[in-house]
Each structure stands twice: as C-alpha cells, then as structure tokens.
C-alpha cells in the first residue's frame, strides 16, 4: 500500500479556512476555492475535522453561515493544545495517527503537534490549493463506501448516543436496531470495496492475505470459487459492505480461503454470522468444510471465532493452520438480526 494514506484532515480555522481572525473581525472571507476542495476530498472518502483555538458557538455559527459545518466530524474548538484536540479526534474516529493530516497557518502550532504526534503529517495552510493533487490524498479506489464514509460515521455517532442513553438491557437495544445482514455473491461493483477490505481489515481476518481487483474478479467469475460479500444495515442507515469470504469449491469439499469482517461491526455481535451461513450452506450441499488460517500478530480473534464454531486444527505448519469442521454443531444466528441471502449457491 501507498505510505501514509490520509483518512482525515484536521483544519485550523483563522487564516486557514478563512482569511482573518474570528474574534477580531466581522469581515471574514473564506479562502478561495476552499469549499470545493473540501467537498471534493469528502467525495473521495477523506474526512475533515477541526482543531481551532476559538469560541465554539461563534465558530460553529460562522461555519453554518458558510454552509460547510456539516463536513466536519468531531470538531475540537476550544482553548486546549492542538495536540490534545488531535488526540481526541483520532480516538473518536478510531483511525491511526499516521493517517491524519494537520493544516495550520502558525508554525508554532505545527511544531507543538509534531512534537506530541510525530506520525501526523503537518502542512502549512498556504498549501491547501495543491491538496487535490497530493498523492496522500488520492486513494487508489473511490468506492461507494468511501463516498459515504462521513455519513457512515454520522450514523454511527447517532447510534452511540442512543445506546449510551438507553436504559433497558443491551439485547433489547440491539433488537430495536432492526439489523439486516445481507449476504450475496460479489458483483463487479463490489470488487473495489472487496480489495479495500482485504487491505484495511486486520483483526477479524483469517489469513491477512490481500487480493487485488483482478485476482478477485477472476475468483468471482471462476466456477470453482465463491466470493461472498456482506452488508449490514439498521434503522440509522448502512454500516457499508463489511464482510468478505472467498471459498474454493471442489467435488467433495468447500475450503474457506479467506474470511474477514470489518471492525466497524464487531460491537454488534455479528462477527460470526457469515461463518455460520457458510457452515449451513456447506451442510446443505453435502460438502466437507475446511478453512485456511494464517496467524498474524493481530488476528487471534478470528482464530477464536473458528474454534468456537467447532473447527478443529488438522495441520499446522509454522503460522499456517488448516482447520476442518465436521458440521455436527452449527451455531444459530443471533435472534435480533434478520439474515437476507441470495440463494443462488
């Protein structure tokens, strides 16, 4: 992967987004083309946030007047050190420090952020005009999921707030979400996202192997492979395409070459839904079921998911493990999730 792809730009406000200082002047003007640049990057799936030493209410009012307030997630407008603001934004978005870019007109602020977070890419505000052509801000693919990434975060924020304020048992809250888990063979439009999933998913990933677009396209078309992709939705909207499985099909058996699930949905208890579905289908087809697993330093959770779904280790060669399932026990789907499938298998 390209080094340090940026997932979020954290902007200063005074003399960065607009010319002038909010608390000193009534005559603020947006920097030329800044709105277009922000919108274009948003469309590429790059998020925006704010770290500004300012009065929160006044600054938000101004952003509303300029009709750009909605583009900024988790804005930090206060009198804290910017390194603290950036740490909060990073935590809220749950992304790596090295995927953040910080833009400010004051060298002092840039040095302060650099000293606390050496991974952050710091840029002087004068350079914003070249953002659209910067490599770090050009993702390899722009997928449906990247285009709506900001909305996915906003939906997630609303969910979290409701969940925090919910008084009853957790299960009841989950049931009230009306979750739908959709499983279908991947179509051509899914392939970019499928590649992105193999690159971005580490914890719930059975092998850590990445596949590119062309490889996935071959699997999709091949008769002896099945490429499944999943989407999760609830009453707040979609979580996006969040799961992928690659299954090798032979006369007598199915072999799960790759199984992965995005971290976005772990908290929803849907981590093993796709695996359960594959087990059911293999049983229906009268096939034996195997799975490849490659140990990485981060995917122990997936190993656990396999073992707790009654897979047994049959071969081990250093980090490569072969698992088999006699399908004598198949867990049930969680009762609060509606499973929607295309039965074209």
């Amino acid at each position: 992967m390209k080094e340090n792809g940026i997932k979020c730009i954290v902007w200063d406000l005074d003399d960065t987004i607009w010319n002038g200082v909010l608390l000193e002047s009534q005559q603020l003007r947006l920097k030329p083309q800044i709105t277009d640049i922000i919108k274009e990057l948003d469309g590429r799936g790059i998020l925006h946030s704010i770290a500004s030493k300012n009065n929160y209410e006044l600054a938000m009012q101004k952003l509303e007047q300029f009709a750009i307030a909605d583009y900024f997630l988790f804005p930090e407008i206060n009198w804290n050190a910017k390194s603290i603001s950036i740490a909060k934004i990073q935590k809220n978005l749950n992304i790596g420090m090295d995927s953040i870019m910080f833009v400010d007109d004051q060298q002092f602020e840039i040095e302060e952020v650099k000293s606390s977070h050496p991974g952050v890419t710091c840029i002087n505000a004068t350079e914003y005009r070249n953002f659209l052509t910067r490599d770090q801000l050009k993702p390899r693919f722009i997928t449906e999921d990247s285009k709506r990434r900001r909305l996915l975060y906003l939906a997630e924020r609303t969910r979290q707030l409701e969940e925090e304020n919910y008084q009853g048992p957790k299960e009841e809250f989950m049931a009230g979400l009306n979750m739908k888990f959709m499983i279908a063979p991947a179509s051509e439009e899914d392939l970019k996202r499928a590649e992105e999933l193999t690159v971005r998913t580490n914890q719930l990933n059975s092998t850590g192997l990445t596949y590119d677009y062309d490889e996935l396209d071959r699997f999709r078309k091949s008769d002896d492979h099945l490429l499944l992709i999943c989407e999760l939705t609830d009453r707040f909207g979609s979580y996006g395409k969040i799961g992928l499985a690659l299954i090798e099909i032979s006369m007598k058996s199915w072999n799960i070459k790759l199984l992965l699930m995005s971290c976005r949905v772990i908290s929803r208890g849907v981590g093993t839904v796709l695996l359960t579905y594959i087990m059911q289908q293999a049983q229906k087809a009268g096939k034996k079921l195997f799975a490849d697993f490659r140990k990485t330093d981060r995917n122990r959770m997936m190993y656990l998911a396999y073992k707790f779904s009654n897979f047994k280790e049959t071969q081990t060669k250093e980090n490569d493990i072969r698992l088999a399932n006699d399908l004598s026990y198949i867990p049930e789907f969680p009762p609060y999730i509606d499973i929607v499938t295309h039965n074209r298998l």
Binding site: R268, G271, L304, A305, K307, F308
Partner: protein, 87 residues
C-alpha cells in the same frame, strides 16, 4: 475466582429477561445467552484477570463452555506455572 467469572458472564449476557439462571456447570453457549462478541471478550477477561496466556490448542469451546470448565482451565494453567517456578 468463581464469583469473578460468574459476574463477568452476568454482565455480558445477551438476554431480555432481567433474571437468567445458570449454574456453574451449565453450557452457556448452548443456552444461547451469549454471542460471538462475548466469546472474544471472555478470552480477554480470563487472560487479563487471572494473568494467564491461553495457547491456541486450549482455545476450545469445551474449555470455556461453563464456569466449572473455565475454573479447571485456569487452575491447570496456574499449577503449570507454579511447577515451572518451583523447579
């Protein structure tokens, strides 16, 4: 120790009823009162709370299916560690 395990399970139940009865020998996975996320949390809890590292071949549902089974696993691990240090 038994109480710690019990209360962790109780805190993470995924059921509607306020009161769910399960004994120390009940298979909590077969009762359907926990989900896949719970399994992951449970492993982290057992390792950090009792200061042990569960190896791959011990990651079996049979070792985590009830309070009793978990007690057995933890005691076995602790005994193993004690033997090593006393040698």
């Amino acid at each position: 120790m038994r109480e710690k395990i019990r209360s962790f399970i109780e805190k993470n139940l995924t059921v509607f009823e306020d009161e769910t009865e399960f004994s120390d020998s009940d298979n909590i996975f077969e009762l359907g009162i926990v989900n896949s996320l719970f399994a992951m949390k449970l492993l982290n809890f057992v390792e950090s709370e009792f200061n042990i590292t569960v190896s791959n071949d011990e990651i079996e549902i049979a070792n985590f299916s009830s309070v009793d089974k978990m007690m057995q696993l933890i005691e076995k691990k602790r005994l193993g560690a004690a033997n090593v240090t006393s040698r």
